[in-house]
Amino acid sequence: MKKVLEGSQAVAEAVRLAKVSVISAYPITPQTHIVEFLSEYCSDGRLSARFLRVESEHSALAALIGAASSGVRTFTATSSQGLALMHELLHWTSGARLPVVMVEVNRALAPGWNIWTDQTDSLAQRDTGWIQLYCENSQETLDTTLQAFRLAELVNLPVMVVLDAFYLSHTYEPVDVPEQELVDRFLPPYDPKFQVDTKDPCAFGSLVLPNAYMEMRHNIAMAMEEVLSQFPEIEEEFAGIFGRRYGSVEPIACDDAEIILITSGTVTSTSRQVIQDLRARGEKVGLLKVKLFRPFPSEMFRRILGPAKKVAVIDRNFSFGASGIFAQEVRAALCNLPSHPPIFGYIAGIGGRDVTTDILEDIYWQTKKNEVPGKESIWMGLQEVDHATESF
């Protein structure tokens, strides 16, 4: 049924439809509405789950590790500082092969306190063994969250569904909320591959010596690789029931593009407009939206970007001492192709600064003008700072 929902509520609806059993979360702007909606649902019975009002994000994920180990479906949500605090346990969750689902609202990291959208927080966790899926709008958010449970429980890896702060979390959009019946057809009850059981006691997560640890990590690597083929299949099934599909990546007008822009999150929506405008002016430009970031679908990037003349990656994040993170991953995916286009890296929208159509056009023209990238990363829209007076 189509409703106008706040993005946070779309998440809550997905969690409700997925019949999650244990929720544990700690409030942090801009995730708070998710937590509040879920509290309401639990309180009025729309969702019969145990909601643990833990005292920190670290404890939130710790509680879910306990709950998931005990064989129930689990969910949490967080952002920025909270995610950073969870870092140790992000590794733990994937290492323990627990299918926890998290909605991560991209928010800048402090100091200074900045509650607006920035991708550095989720991308800084790219090594933790979590599947990462980036969403562009609220419908995609709801759909992806449902798919996340299916995917996590299939490969036994935790899944992070990532949204932009405020643009998605606090903005109202029309969302088609599916019927419970249909969701049940797509997402059966959780059937754990292992759990603690007093009738069949076992110790989980003990000391592992070098003679076995490597194989366990390789096992995780293999599971991650499986996702590349399993996620499309899940999307296929989802499309069959609900009629919607997004793709691990979505190429827009890339077939004959000379320059391809790469974006993720809500910047993609703005970019769709810019591409249309440029095409109308005869520019051979394309757009590649990245949804699946972990595992990184390198093969798809090679196939789509290979023929292009230039690639411009727009990163709303930065890895200090290196470059924008999407740009790094794209360069790594392409580096062994015998010939591949140069990759231009642009940094925009850090700390919630608007990524306007002007900036995006500017990125296109800069890319077109230069044969090869002048710098590793070009920061868009930087102001001059008078350090004497600290005026911008």
Binding site: A96, R97, L154, V155, N156, D191, K193, F194, C202, A203, F204, G205, S206, V208, A212, E215, M216, N219, M222, A223, E226, Q230
Partner: protein, 597 residues
């Protein structure tokens, strides 16, 4: 479902989870110290001349197993009823509990167990050796003779006991007054000895000829005749009418010829006989004065009896010796010379010599001599050293080429003249004879050493000699420091009730009254059971490695050396020092550390 299975097969899961136990790690290989169950010897059992297994007796009593506790006594001593009353209990003086609060009242418990057996008409079940062909004659049915016959019977021999008096018992019947040992108790204990097969022939005086007479076919003769002739004072007036033999006086009381006695009576001597005479006088209505030539603390009489005598009004005059007795005007005048202490002998007894002052005189109704006894006949005295003569701790064996072997015991050979020493004699004689018959004269000495309790010149244990469980105990005597007193609480010692002094003076009824089973059990619970395992299971409770395993063995558990790390907690937490911690030896197994049992 099949789709899931397909996927699982395609993506098998490898998570850190357990599917084995830790049992394959034989942590016993870590050990450099090894604990072991080893019971040891309690000091009380070595101080008891009969070597009673006191720690075990108290353990069984605490559990309410009164019959088993009583049987444990009977293995080493057929007279618990008598000893529980009249023994001077040297055991209590070595009791480790004394350093904690107060020594255990071992004698009270022994008496309780004996009385309980009498009251409930219990029949003991004791180990006995198969019948042997040798026959032994015992002269004298006193404690040593009866004990000898009893132990010899347990060892399989046939015994005939010959007693000159009309009833058996010796000093137990004729010497020890009723207020210390009621006749019913004695009756019962002698009856039990007879139940074991001992034949007692009363009214049979034995002459020296008996020793040579081979017609009787006795292979050995035990002489337990005792010292029945009073020693003489050797002073003028000794034979005047009214100057009597103390022991004969006690005998006459027991023969119900109860002479009354008013007025003051002097009792010369400081031993048990003197005290018994004095206390009997008091009960007959008279006043008793004990005249002793040394100090009160030098008196050979048992301390508890001296104390009770004083409570009952007996007066002790120390450092006085009789010089002369004359009869004057219906009274006896006793001249006393004062003595002074000039030093102490190696045992701490005063060395005295006359003071030189003018002698005193006291006027009394009667005078009793109780300065010691001697053998009634010269052939009662054991021979001195010589070929074929073996002097043991409590007896002397004389082996002759012709005729039966002779064993002298009891007061004839014991330095300390007590019932328990008499029992020790009888036991020693029995064991010595058994060794003599089986292995010959030369084997006696060495074999006796193997059935001692503890080490050094310690008492003999019949149980050890007969190969009982006590044999496996270490001779190490447990000290107070080796007891883990954390497991004991200060508890008051039982106070055995007594007749009030006024009551005592009117009657020959037993002075010490009985205690209840509850009190006996509680008192027995105070025993540390030094060196014994009482199955408290501390070792099992505290083992961090589950290496103490309960089983059906007599120990009740064993140590699993595959896993025992030798931490030693069990040994320290054993309150009774019934374990040892030794260095692990690596030579046991071939090459490398020994890990398994």
């Amino acid at each position: 479902m099949t789709e899931k299975k397909k996927i699982i097969e395609a993506i098998p899961l490898l998570v850190p989870h357990s599917y084995l136990t830790t049992e394959s790690n034989k942590t016993g290989s870590w050990r450099f110290l090894k604990p072991r169950y080893e019971e040891k010897t309690s000091p009380c059992s070595t101080a008891c001349p009969a070597g009673e297994d006191i720690g075990r007796i108290e353990m069984l009593t605490t559990r309410g197993l009164f019959k088993e506790a009583w049987e444990t006594i009977l293995r080493e001593n057929p007279f618990p009823g008598a000893c529980g009353r009249v023994c001077y209990h040297p055991c209590e003086k070595t009791c480790n509990r004394e350093e904690f609060d107060k020594a255990v009242a071992i004698h009270s418990i022994e008496r309780f167990l004996a009385d309980n057996a009498i009251r409930n008409n219990l029949n003991p079940l004791l180990e006995r050796n198969p019948a042997r062909e040798q026959k032994i004659a015992v002269i004298g049915a006193g404690p040593s003779g009866l004990a000898a016959a009893y132990f010899l019977t347990l060892l399989g021999y046939t015994c005939d006991v010959f007693e000159a008096m009309p009833e058996p018992g010796g000093i137990l019947r004729w010497g020890i007054p009723l207020y210390r040992l009621p006749p019913s108790v004695l009756q019962n204990e002698i009856a039990r000895i007879e139940d074991h097969g001992v034949r007692i022939h009363t009214g049979k005086q034995i002459s020296q000829r008996f020793l040579e007479d081979t017609r009787n076919n006795y292979n050995a003769i035990f002489l337990g005749c005792g010292h029945s002739r009073a020693a003489r004072l050797n002073i003028p007036g000794e034979d005047i009418d009214g100057v009597e033999d103390g022991l004969k006086f006690l005998l006459s009381i027991r023969q119900n010829k109860n002479p009354s006695s008013n007025g003051t009576v002097a009792v010369i001597g400081g031993g048990n006989t003197a005290v018994d005479v004095a206390r009997s006088i008091v009960r007959l209505g008279g006043k008793a004065l004990i005249i002793y030539r040394r100090r009160r603390q030098d008196m050979p009489a048992f301390e508890q009896d001296v104390r009770m005598a004083l409570e009952e009004g007996v007066e002790i005059k120390e450092l006085l010796t009789p010089a002369k007795i004359i009869y004057d005007n219906k009274e006896l005048v006793l001249t006393l010379r004062q003595m002074k202490v000039v030093g102490e002998d190696i045992r701490g007894r005063a060395l005295v010599e006359p003071d030189g002052k003018n002698p005193d005189e006291i006027r009394v109704e009667r005078i009793f001599k109780a300065i010691g006894e001697e053998t009634a006949e010269p052939w009662h005295s054991p021979p001195e050293e010589g070929e074929g003569i073996l002097s043991m701790n409590n007896s002397v064996l004389a082996y002759r080429h012709r005729g039966p072997a002779l064993v002298f015991g009891g007061d004839l050979t014991n330095q300390t003249k007590s019932v328990v020493h008499a029992v020790a004699s009888g036991k020693e004689a029995a064991i010595a004879l058994d060794i003599f018959f089986r292995e010959g004269f030369d084997a006696i000495g060495p074999t006796l050493k193997t059935c001692m309790v503890g080490n050094g010149t310690s008492p003999l244990s019949m149980e050890i000699y007969m190969g009982g469980a006590r044999r496996s105990r270490s001779p190490h005597i447990v000290t107070y420091e080796e007891i883990n007193t954390d497991y004991f609480q200060l508890t008051a010692k039982v106070s055995q009730p007594r007749l009030l002094i006024e009551e005592r003076l009117r009657t020959f009824e037993e002075v010490d009254l009985k205690i209840s089973a509850h009190l006996a059990t509680r008192e027995a619970g105070r025993c540390f059971n030094c060196g014994l395992c009482i199955q408290c299971e501390n070792c099992f409770i505290f083992c961090p490695d589950m290496a103490v395993i309960r089983d059906n063995s007599s120990q009740g558990r064993h140590i699993n050396y595959d896993y025992c790390k030798g931490c030693g907690v069990c040994v320290v937490e054993c309150p009774r020092n019934a374990m040892v911690l030794e260095e692990e030896s690596y030579e046991e197994s071939s090459g490398g550390k020994s890990g398994s049992s």
